[in-house]
């Protein structure tokens, strides 16, 4: 059984790896951070793509394990062929413009202490994750009633799996599809699989955050970013609970990171990273309904920031390239929403109800109060820590017109505004729904917030480094 579990995950991740490196540029010098970034992206992209195609396979063919393995092998070969083909065209290279090279920062014992703490916390988190997951193998109620139940329907339902969606919510199927796909490989619905999926997404998010910040701002910032994410208990707890907030947060982060890497890819004419960003944006909407809001936020923020800065022609070209990655995944999401899932309980309401709720000022007040309260208490007051750190360290030391960071901030702001208005029109008891859900919605944005924060904040430089840096500028 273990062999088949490993085989199924390996097939997914290998497929994801070849897809990912097909669109990512080379970095001239050897960089462990860049290798880690590729691996972490491969996990999410691989599981996402195979989950998408698994559902299409279920819709098209009768469920059969051997046929699925052949289908996945074909997909893997396709990704290798794509990689070989893309090598000819992908002549970009990643040149980090915005930061000093890692080697410039002299190793200091203070950073070594933080690195040691990060590694201890990482090891401890892995152990705690496994112990708690063994204790609650089915996950928390959301996982049981949502993702794992859907996965069981996909696996146990055979040809009749679609009938399940008369009782289930309209949430998309990235997690259930991933879990059920592995169950088809092994022929049994063991709880090891959802635990493994939650584990992979949780620690890939940490890896992606660490590696991306390390590439763009140096290893010391990367370690601090990873340390902060691991210290946010709700993140780890949500992973243990097998909640889909962590995977969707992974795809938000991946998209934003890819936009930043694209900005640092300065050689060559092809922006293939935008295709990958389109795929990760689409996979966010394949993970949770909030992912659809993310697509809208990215489109709106890019129009607001990139259109005036780049001009219509360049903006439209970039949007089209991004769309090449997005549209295939989005097509699957739209098919699922229109043909299989039951109507959304929020958007299934009468339009007069929408208007009445939008006109009710007390709803705005309640939501604002509850959201502010949640933000203040989130992660034991971590937002105050960030504010204090920024005051102490100051903003980043190389000032330049960074429109991608502005774009990322605007995307996250649009997400928060979107959440707010979804609450306004929500049919469920308002105080209750904001209280139980907003901290989790904010958690989805949390890795991206940490990423942007460490791009903005100055790294912990020694006095000598600061002087040398001033001379360089």
């Amino acid at each position: 059984m273990i062999f088949l579990v490993v085989l199924s995950f390996s097939m997914s991740m290998a497929t994801g790896y070849f897809f990912t490196i097909s669109f990512l540029p080379d970095r001239r010098e050897t960089s462990y951070s860049y290798a880690l970034l590729k691996i972490c992206l491969s996990v999410g992209v691989g599981l996402g793509i195979t989950s998408c195609l698994f559902i299409l396979w279920l819709i098209t063919f009768n469920p059969d394990t051997i046929a699925l393995i052949i289908f996945d092998s074909f997909l893997l070969i396709t990704s290798i062929v794509l990689f070989k083909y893309m090598i000819k065209f992908n002549n970009n290279s990643l040149l980090i413009k915005a930061t000093l090279p890692d080697a410039y920062l002299k190793p200091s014992w203070m950073i070594s202490v933080v690195t040691a703490l990060f590694l201890i916390l990482l090891g401890g988190s892995v152990i705690v994750f496994l112990i708690k997951s063994i204790k609650t193998p089915h996950g928390y109620l959301d996982a049981i009633t949502g993702w794992n139940m859907k996965a069981r329907f996909l696996f146990r339902g055979g040809e009749l799996w679609e009938t399940a969606f008369t009782v289930l919510t309209d949430s998309p199927l990235l997690i259930p599809g991933t879990v059920a796909r592995v169950w088809y490989y092994i022929g049994s619905d063991t709880t090891i699989v959802p635990i493994a999926v939650a584990f992979l997404f949780s620690f890939s998010t940490v890896g992606l955050l660490y590696s991306s910040v390390s590439i763009l701002r140096g290893r010391s910032q990367g370690v601090l970013a990873g340390l902060l994410l691991l210290s946010t208990i709700i993140f780890l707890q949500s992973g243990i609970n097998q909640a889909a907030d962590v995977p969707v947060g992974f795809f938000y982060l991946a998209t934003i990171v890819l936009f930043h890497l694209k900005d640092n890819s300065s050689k060559g004419k092809n922006d293939f990273m935008l295709i990958l960003a389109g795929i990760t944006t689409g996979l966010a909407s394949w993970t949770k309904p909030e992912g659809s809001l993310f697509i809208v936020s990215v489109v709106m923020a890019s129009a607001l920031i990139f259109l005036p800065a780049k001009g219509f022609k360049k903006y439209f070209k970039d949007l089209l390239i991004w769309g090449i990655g997005l549209i295939p995944v989005l097509a699957v999401v739209i098919y699922f929403k229109t043909q299989i899932a039951s109507p959304s309980y929020i958007f299934g309401q009468d339009w007069t109800v929408f208007i009445n709720k939008l006109a009710d000022s007390t709803r705005y007040l309640i939501i604002t109060q509850m959201m502010v309260r949640t933000l203040v208490t989130f992660g034991d007051g971590v937002l105050f820590l960030l504010a204090l750190y920024l005051i102490l360290m100051g903003k980043k030391y190389i000032i330049r017109d960074d429109i991608v960071t502005t774009f990322s901030i605007v995307v996250l702001c649009f997400m928060l505004i979107g959440y707010f208005f979804i609450y306004v029109i929500n049919p469920i008891d308002l105080s209750f729904v904001v209280k139980v859900s907003f901290k989790r919605l904010f958690l989805q944005l949390w890795p991206s917030i940490i990423f942007i924060f460490f791009l903005i904040a100055k790294p912990p430089l020694t006095i000598e480094d600061i002087k040398a840096n001033e001379k360089m500028i």
């Binding site: 200091s108 203070m110 202490v113 933080v114 703490l117 916390l121 705690v128 112990i131 708690k132 204790k135 193998p137 089915h138 109620l141 049981i144 009633t145 794992n148 139940m149 069981r152 329907f153 146990r156 339902g157 055979g158 009749l160 799996w161 009938t163 399940a164 008369t166 009782v167 601090l224 340390l227 902060l228 691991l230 210290s231 946010t232 208990i233 707890q237 992660g379 034991d380 971590v382 820590l385 204090l388 750190y389 102490l392 360290m393 912990p460 430089l461 020694t462 006095i463 000598e464 600061i466």
Partner: protein, 223 residues
């Protein structure tokens, strides 16, 4: 100076980041079930060892193996897997079945229904009794033998006052069953908060009592 290379601001900033995980993890340990259960286990072991002789301890451990459903078990999928193990094989997998419960019925939080649905997947369970087969999920098996048309009442609408309805159901020992799946339209509230005699249960036949509050009913011919 302890940190000659760094400015004071940088040192404070880094120290904040070093302290923060200690604060969050300590806070987590105060409410973590893993830690609290470990502490309770250790405490109980220490107490038992000091207050009981070894032979008594052996008896105590044997007795403690008896299955006694705890309040927390009602939200535990493992407990549900055990309870519904035998019912699973009795019902065809491609059916849509009804559902009833004594724990507030449609006015309870639907956790018990979700868990029943989870363990019996791919069976589709609707929270009504207008089906050929109906699954009963009760607090204990004693209730099953007491079910008569007089104890089952229907509620024609979903009240917004869930707490009140739940209390009403518990006070009277009534089993409330909800409106047909999908028909959330309010019919008549009625004088008694929407609870009314439910004619459709007159022909309810108990097919099998699986123990531990789990039962399977069938709709027979109307009397």
């Amino acid at each position: 100076m302890i940190f000659p290379k760094y400015s004071t601001r940088t040192i404070i900033g880094i120290i904040l980041f070093i302290i923060y995980p200690f604060i969050t993890y300590c806070h987590w340990f105060t409410y973590s079930t893993v830690i609290s259960s470990l502490v309770t286990k250790v405490k109980s072991l220490v107490t038992e060892q000091t207050s009981r002789p070894i032979e008594n301890l052996k008896n105590y451990n044997t007795n403690s193996k008896k299955p006694t459903p705890k309040a927390g078990n009602f939200a535990n999928p493992i407990y549900y897997e055990q309870r519904f193990k035998y019912l699973k094989s009795e019902v065809p997998k491609d059916m849509i079945v009804g559902y009833m419960t004594d724990r507030g019925g449609v006015y309870s939080t639907p956790i018990d229904w979700w868990l029943t649905q989870y363990v019996l997947t791919p069976l589709v369970i609707y929270r009504d009794i207008d089906r050929e087969l109906i699954i009963g999920n009760f607090s204990n098996s004693g209730i099953i033998s007491e079910i008569t048309p007089d104890t089952i009442y229907c509620s024609n609408y979903y009240s917004s006052e869930k707490g009140h309805m739940y209390q009403l159901s518990n006070e009277r020992g009534l089993i409330l069953v909800g409106p047909k799946h999908g028909s959330t339209a309010h019919v008549t509230q009625g004088a008694d908060g929407g609870i009314m005699k439910c004619s459709s249960v007159n022909n309810l036949i108990l097919l099998k009592d699986f123990g531990d509050g789990v039962a399977l009913f069938k709709r027979g011919k109307a009397k």
